[in-house]
């Protein structure tokens, strides 16, 4: 199976998972290859890229270490390895990952044979892998980075934080979009916003956002939480309630008789992370938000903006975001997205070059 055939087969298998992966087509995958590797068939044989003849070599074996609470990241990582034509060892959390397993079941036999799932500790896979991709906390990433051998390619995706900025929105048109971004995957992903900064009437915006999140909850209820997660939500709510009671510029909206969703307007613009699981802060956007988002800057991933125009995108990018997108699209990065500001396919391959035009080389020598 060559790369183009793989792209088609993978795209077919992805169709049932567009709720996790967004729109998918073989052409998107081929574009991705062209952008990152220079040619869609460069994994199959030498191709002219610029003024060179190059061939890309994929890792023979990729070990993917993924989290159970972000199945989309696991699927994206698997798609990456399959598109490159590698064998993929996928370390799943102990509870398994039904979406990933269902996805693989839809692949043709040739590709299906290139995926192996395991819930055991991945040490044996570690030694066998040419490349290791890890999704997890900074501690998890560092743990596996320390175990990796010097000749192994290592890609670690640690803790990341995302947020939204509403620069202008007189009619609060973006509120349902922000609600979708904050609610999808129960806010567990690195692309989920912790906070929405709003330039104009932020408290009113928060009220609208609360209504929209409640509406979203009506059709897509949040998952059941552990006691620790529920305790964290309780603490966020009661802190907000107490601050509200003593006259701080804080307001709380919350689901009744449940902890399904929480919106907290906080007049203090300084960013603080949310405890997630549909707990979202709304803060006023300062004239210069640089200091306000300083805490998030070292691990800032995506800033979603409204309206999605270049001048506002430039301002958002200057705050340290590696990705800027429209509100409502936070969870749908394109395949060509530079995750954490880096390519996602290119770092996995090594290169073979061929210099067929020996006379050019000799000509160079003759000139000296």
């Amino acid at each position: 199976m060559n790369t183009v055939e793989r792209a088609h087969a993978i795209a077919d298998a992805c169709r049932d998972f567009e709720h996790l992966l967004g729109p998918v087509s073989a052409e998107m995958f081929l574009d991705w290859l062209r952008i990152e590797l220079g040619h869609e068939s460069v994994l199959d044989g030498f191709q002219t890229i610029g003024n060179q003849m190059l061939r890309a070599v994929a890792p023979r074996v990729i070990l993917h270490i993924v989290s159970g609470n972000t199945p989309h990241a696991a699927l994206q990582s698997l798609v990456r390895g399959l598109l490159l034509g590698s064998r993929n060892l996928c370390k799943l959390p102990s509870g398994g990952l039904p979406d990933a397993e269902a996805f693989v079941a839809r692949l043709p036999a040739d590709l299906r044979a290139r995926v192996e799932f395991s819930t055991r500790h991945p040490d044996p896979g570690l030694a066998a892998a040419d490349a290791i991709i890890v999704f997890g906390s900074d501690e998890t990433v560092e743990h596996f980075r320390a175990l990796a051998l010097p000749n192994q390619i290592f890609l670690g995706y640690g803790h990341r934080i995302s947020l939204g900025i509403v620069f202008e929105d007189a009619a609060f048109e973006s509120a349902p979009l922000a609600a979708r971004d904050a609610s999808l995957f129960d806010q567990q992903g690195c692309l989920s916003p912790h906070c929405i900064y709003v330039a104009d009437r932020p408290q009113e915006y928060a009220a609208r956002l609360a209504g929209e999140i409640e509406r979203f909850e009506g059709t897509s209820p949040r998952s059941k939480l552990s006691l620790s997660e529920a305790a964290a939500i309780s603490e966020s709510r009661e802190t907000a309630r107490f601050r509200m009671a003593i006259g701080h510029d804080v307001h709380l909206w919350e689901s009744r008789e449940s902890d399904a969703w929480t919106v907290i307007y906080d007049g203090d613009p300084i960013f603080h992370p949310s405890v997630l699981n549909r707990v979202i802060y709304v803060r006023p956007l300062p004239e210069d938000p640089t200091a306000a988002v300083e805490l998030a800057r070292p691990c800032l991933s995506t800033i979603a903006i409204w309206p999605n125009t270049q001048p506002f995108a430039e301002r958002a990018a200057s705050l340290g975001a590696s990705r800027v997108c429209a509100l409502g699209r936070m969870q749908d990065p394109p395949w060509t997205w530079r995750q954490d500001g880096r390519h996602t396919l290119a770092p996995l391959v090594t290169w073979r070059s061929w210099e067929p035009d020996i006379t050019r080389y000799l000509g160079g020598l003759n000139r000296s």
Binding site: P93, H121, S137, S234, I246, V275
Partner: protein
């Protein structure tokens, strides 16, 4: 009519001294009404909740989040009357809570009476906690200073130097000296201080005289360290020859005035008679049934000058009137993409 601070303090002092919980509800309601009148931030919080002046019993009194001590001065007395303040640990001033006092009478009485209820023989004390003069805002240091009244011949030896470090030479000399004399001692310290000491012993052991005891408290907050209680107690056994039943664990916090204790492994913590504890479901706020897990709420009559009912951050299993502490579970707290991978890592490494 609400009694004034001194009148209530006298009443509560007598209740602590008597160790008699019979009038708990009456005292709780009096303290609640007093705090509603004289503690404006707490009163504002209760108003927002719609809480009335006459709850049906102590369980109906609104518990205030422990973290609230970071956001307001929760005094039930005029600020001008303040004589002491204990600060919670924290990396910056902004995230530190403060417990204010106009009198330490009830605090000290609760410390001493609570200690007496453990039924221990007075022993000389070796203390792995900063001296109160080096840590005037530490409630734990103050408590240790107060316990001088329960040390044999008021003999206390402090082994944290002025830089906040363990004085390992002094510790070794003291243990050697008491061993030579055959005099049992009480070692008091944080779990982290004991852990540092055991690691510094580098595999060697010290022999404490028979009858010696240890008091440990606190976790490993801010240290990045985690260690199960069983593992820590195994180290006590190996390094000092102390069996689990020779070790007393204290559960307390800056925001409270009283302490809960347990001894050995696999036993629940017990509150003194002037304190009540319940566990509530964090999602609903309702009390959980016996054997179930919830967020721990503590109702401490000795907290007259601040807030009687405190909602802690700790999870606990309800065991009748006692509780089995689970604490905060950092690995289970949501941290974006990381959670499941961390769980996997902790389960397999």
């Amino acid at each position: 009519m609400t009694r004034n601070f001194e009148e209530l303090e006298n009443l509560l002092s007598a209740a602590i001294a008597a160790g008699e919980p019979g009038r708990f509800d009456d005292l709780a309601l009096e303290v609640y009404r007093y705090q509603r009148e004289y503690n404006p931030p707490y009163d504002q919080y209760c108003r927002l909740l719609g809480a009335g002046d006459s709850p049906a019993g102590w369980r109906e009194i609104p518990a205030l989040l422990q973290a609230a001590f970071k956001y307001a001065a929760l005094r039930s007395f005029p600020a001008a009357k303040e004589i002491a303040a204990f600060h919670t640990s924290g990396t910056t001033g902004a995230d530190r809570g403060v417990h204010h006092f106009s009198s330490l009478r009830l605090y000290d009485e609760a410390v001493l009476r609570g200690w007496d209820l453990l039924g221990l023989q007075p022993l000389p004390q070796i203390i792995l906690i900063a001296h109160p003069s080096d840590a005037p805002h530490s409630s734990l240091s103050h408590m240790m200073g107060t316990l001088k009244a329960r040390a044999a011949n008021a003999e206390q030896h402090w082994c944290i130097n002025t830089h906040g470090q363990l004085d390992l030479d002094r510790l070794r000399d003291l243990v050697d000296e008491f061993s030579r004399r055959g005099q049992p001692v009480m070692l008091l310290g944080t779990a982290l201080a004991f852990l540092h000491w055991f690691e510094a012993l580098e595999g060697s052991s010290l022999a404490l005289p028979i009858g010696s005891l240890a008091f440990e408290t606190g976790g490993y907050k801010g240290s990045g360290r985690t260690l199960s209680k069983a593992s820590l107690y195994a180290m006590f056994q190996k390094r000092l020859g102390l069996a689990p039943d020779d070790i007393i664990n204290e559960y307390g916090m800056t925001e409270l005035s009283s302490q809960c204790y347990t001894r050995g492994l696999d036993r629940p913590h017990t509150a003194p008679p002037w304190v009540r504890t319940i566990a509530v479901n964090p999602a609903t706020g309702r009390e959980v049934a016996d054997g179930e897990t919830g967020l721990l709420q503590i109702y401490d009559l000795a907290n007259l000058g601040s807030v009687f009912a405190i909602q802690t951050r700790d999870l606990a299993i309800r065991r009748g009137a006692d509780f089995e502490l689970l604490g905060r579970d950092p690995a289970a707290l949501p941290r974006g993409c990381s959670r499941a991978a961390d769980v996997m890592l902790s389960a397999t490494s």
